[in-house]
């Protein structure tokens, strides 16, 4: 592992604790045992460092998504199972820092669309919708109804995440997700079913 990779990992850990929008080179360098000079030398500029951190965070996010894809042939598990699996990942306490960073980056890209943060918000919406589409049966996937239903599934997950990050009330929010799960079946079979 090169020195650059080491410093990126250390910076990533620092950012998970202190946030990214107010990141400053001198306090960061002091905390991770480096210097502003070296950080700029290795990453080109502070902007380059921030980009690298965002890319590093994206690695974690994509890993979570791939974990869902790998939990069986995607198209067979359906939205319900996908949401269940994704929520299990989102609600894991260890993932809280990276999810807070995610929320911070999302909001930042809404306020300042251009520049370093770019279209982070739109990109992540697209990523997650693509995953959910992969989990839908082919016929449902390409229908307007299917588009609305995976959009709904994503909204429930994102909204529940915001609630959980703010209140920490795992029990209440997970109960809400549990409420929603049976309602994500194909439209022709909405409502309480005798079995799957």
């Amino acid at each position: 592992m090169t020195r650059k990779e080491e410093l990126l990992e250390a910076t990533y850990r620092y950012v998970l604790e202190h946030g990214l929008t107010q990141l400053s080179l001198r306090p960061l360098a002091a905390a991770i045992g480096s210097s502003p000079r070296v950080l700029v030398f290795l990453f080109g500029s502070k902007e380059g460092l921030v980009r690298a951190v965002l890319a590093r965070a994206r690695t974690d996010e994509l890993a979570a998504l791939d974990h869902v894809r790998a939990s069986g042939d995607a198209a067979t598990i359906g939205l319900t199972t996908a949401v269940e699996c994704l929520w299990a990942w989102l609600a894991t306490p260890d993932h809280r820092p990276v999810l807070t960073l995610w929320a911070e980056s999302y909001a930042r890209s809404l306020v300042e669309p251009g520049g370093v943060w770019g279209d982070f918000a739109a990109a992540t919406v697209h990523d997650w919708l693509a995953l959910l589409a992969d989990c839908q049966p082919a016929r449902e996937r390409h229908s307007a109804d299917g588009s609305a239903r995976r959009t709904l599934a994503l909204a429930v997950l994102r909204g529940a995440l915001l609630d959980l990050l703010a209140t920490g009330d795992h029990k209440r929010v997970s109960a809400a997700i549990a409420h929603q799960l049976p309602l994500l079946r194909p439209a022709s079979r909405t409502g309480p079913l005798p079995s799957a």
Copy 2:
């Protein structure tokens, strides 16, 4: 209207365009025709000004909530109508700046819980849950099931808002909300109903 109120309104408009976390006194003062000296004199400090702006934004938010409460005796409209009404407000293009500011403040209070931003995120979750509880029938309101269902309603609204702010795809997101509406009826009557 005092000079202080005028400057607060001008600052509020400026913040809706430029964001709040990166607010700086000199560019702000230049844009609204004042000076850093006067802003500090009137609001005590930059922190005092930020607090005043947050309180000003809260005024808009509470006005929207009261608008729902006033649209009929709250307890009689139910979660479905409440969500429908709230989404109409959230999806109004004119409200986009204040909602972006809301998302920014929400994320900021997650990253830095203490200080100026305080418990903004937790407080706003509580406000909205309280409104939704007001819209539930008394018996449902005090049940664990009712708590989960209004939590779910809030999550859908918040998640859909994040999607809309990032993509602007009003049609797709509103379709998702429309999908959810019939599913928010009391649990004993979940699923497609013959009528209300």
